[in-house]
């Protein structure tokens, strides 16, 4: 590498002896830490692989589960995650440019690129917040259990809910009142509890009954994800058109809880446990939150460390020291975070 010396001087010595691989102590220790951290992440991903291979249930498909963009809705398979990947790659690039500037003792360059890296990190964290929120809230149709006991995920355009007109007064709402607030949330909550009935009647919390005014759904398509013993339907079977609508609403209006939206958390008295999710087996959501959460935690601490280094660079601490190796060591950690995401991206979202 550039600037490499073959001569040994006091700087290449570890407490009087020759340094292993002519590497500074801090850099080598950073590498050892990264190897151990990589083992942790590999362990998590291998555990995910284990569960995925031993399960008999249909595992969720990445492009079906992650196909939304903020403001634009559905129909964009994997684009958002790809964008997150790109953001992280770019911030890795700005980091390596900061390291390069450090090698030239270019203080301004280091500060400029470190700022860019920190911004990239915040962008990624923000994206992850949206992703989690979207995963927890789920799709508009949710996952539906059909009359024969098989389970299906739903694709299509969900007709907008316009209003609820109260036809039977309750504690709070009067007869004839038109409700226009919080419609989607109320609708999904009622659907989950089996409080929507034949003809689009919704039972509200206060005991009143209202008629739902809703635009028509379009292009509905059910894909069977869970087989049942009473059903002839197999995993992967599709139901489309009018038949899909008929089956979906027959279940939704059945008066018993048949639909799941997003990932549900359930309090059993002592623990918070993720119980059901619309995407697939329980473990899928466990691993989603744990792996992306653990990675997100790394990104978060990486951003904090980057900010500290940025402050150090701005104050001229490293310049006075004569070298910017701290930037390099932090850079190793930041690239590692990017590296982990490359694998999470492949094994969680793509494969």
């Amino acid at each position: 590498m550039a600037g490499q010396t073959t001569q040994l001087d006091s700087k290449t010595l570890w407490g009087g002896k020759e340094s292993p691989f002519q590497t500074s102590y801090g850099k080598l220790m950073m590498w050892f830490f990264l190897v151990s951290d990589a083992l942790t992440f590999s362990g998590l991903l291998v555990a995910y692989g284990f569960v995925r291979h031993d399960t008999l249930e249909a595992w969720p498909i990445g492009e079906e589960t992650f196909n939304s963009l903020p403001f634009l809705g559905h129909g964009y398979p994997l684009i958002y995650v790809a964008l997150m990947t790109f953001i992280l790659i770019v911030s890795s690039v700005t980091m390596v440019l900061a390291v390069e500037a450090g090698h030239r003792m270019d203080k301004k360059g280091v500060v400029k690129w470190m700022i860019a890296t920190v911004i990239g990190g915040f962008f990624f964290l923000g994206s992850q917040v949206w992703e989690w929120s979207h995963f927890i809230h789920g799709s508009e149709f949710g996952r539906i259990e059909l009359a024969d006991g098989s389970e299906a995920i739903v694709k299509g355009h969900f007709g907008e809910i316009e209003s609820f007109t109260v036809i039977e007064a309750g504690m709070h709402h009067k007869k004839g009142e038109v409700i226009k607030d919080d419609l989607m949330h109320t609708f999904q909550h009622a659907a989950e509890n089996g409080h929507i009935h034949e003809g689009g009647m919704i039972h509200l919390h206060d005991g009143s009954i209202a008629k739902i005014k809703k635009a028509h759904d379009h292009d509905m398509e059910l894909t069977i994800k869970g087989a049942s013993q009473d059903s002839k339907r197999k995993i992967g079977d599709k139901i489309t058109g009018k038949e899909a609508e008929k089956q979906y609403y027959a279940s939704l209006y059945s008066g018993t809880p048949k639909v799941t939206y997003g990932a549900k958390w359930f309090e059993d008295g002592t623990h918070w446990l993720p119980t059901k999710n619309e995407y697939g087996p329980q473990q899928y959501a466990h691993f989603f939150f744990f792996i992306t959460g653990f990675h997100g935690f790394h990104v978060f601490s990486g951003v904090l460390i980057n900010i500290l280094i940025l402050i150090g660079a701005m104050k001229g601490t490293y310049h006075k020291r004569g070298h910017y190796e701290m930037v390099e060591k932090t850079g190793l950690y930041w690239h590692f975070v990017d590296l982990v995401w490359v694998f999470v991206f492949t094994f969680f979202y793509l494969v």
Binding site: Q4, G15, F50, R104
Partner: protein, 122 residues
């Protein structure tokens, strides 16, 4: 009392303007390559369905492309390619040995457990 047993190390921490230019152009090339690989991955994932016959090949393509991406990040961005040969080996060999074994044993077991479940299921 000033300690004389602490030494500030700084190895390979400097290069010239010219070397900097070369390094920057390499960084740009690698950036384009990594972006391209990601675009290819997403396109494959979006257009080829998991139910299609080509899927097993797509899956392996993903894994190969991922390793390629990882290789560029580790070797270029993390400068491991510029370190001494045995430093590289000390980091990569034990890790690779352990993880390949873990992948093999865990997935093999998983398939066996899956078989056991399916033979119990009615």
């Amino acid at each position: 009392m000033e300690r004389d047993d602490l030494i500030e190390y700084s190895l390979d921490t400097h290069h010239s303007e010219e070397q900097g230019k070369q390094i920057r152009s390499k960084i740009v090339k690698v950036t384009i390559l990594l972006t391209l690989i990601t675009v290819i991955e997403v396109a494959l994932g979006a257009f080829i369905k998991q139910s299609s016959g080509a899927w097993p090949y797509v899956k392996w393509t993903f894994i190969v492309l991922t390793l390629l991406k990882a290789g560029y990040i580790v070797m270029v961005f993390m400068h491991l390619g510029d370190e001494r040969k045995w430093m590289r080996n000390v980091i990569l060999i034990p890790y690779a040995m352990f993880i390949l074994y873990l992948i093999f044993i865990a997935l093999w077991e998983a398939l066996a457990v899956g078989d056991a479940w399916s033979s119990v299921a009615v």
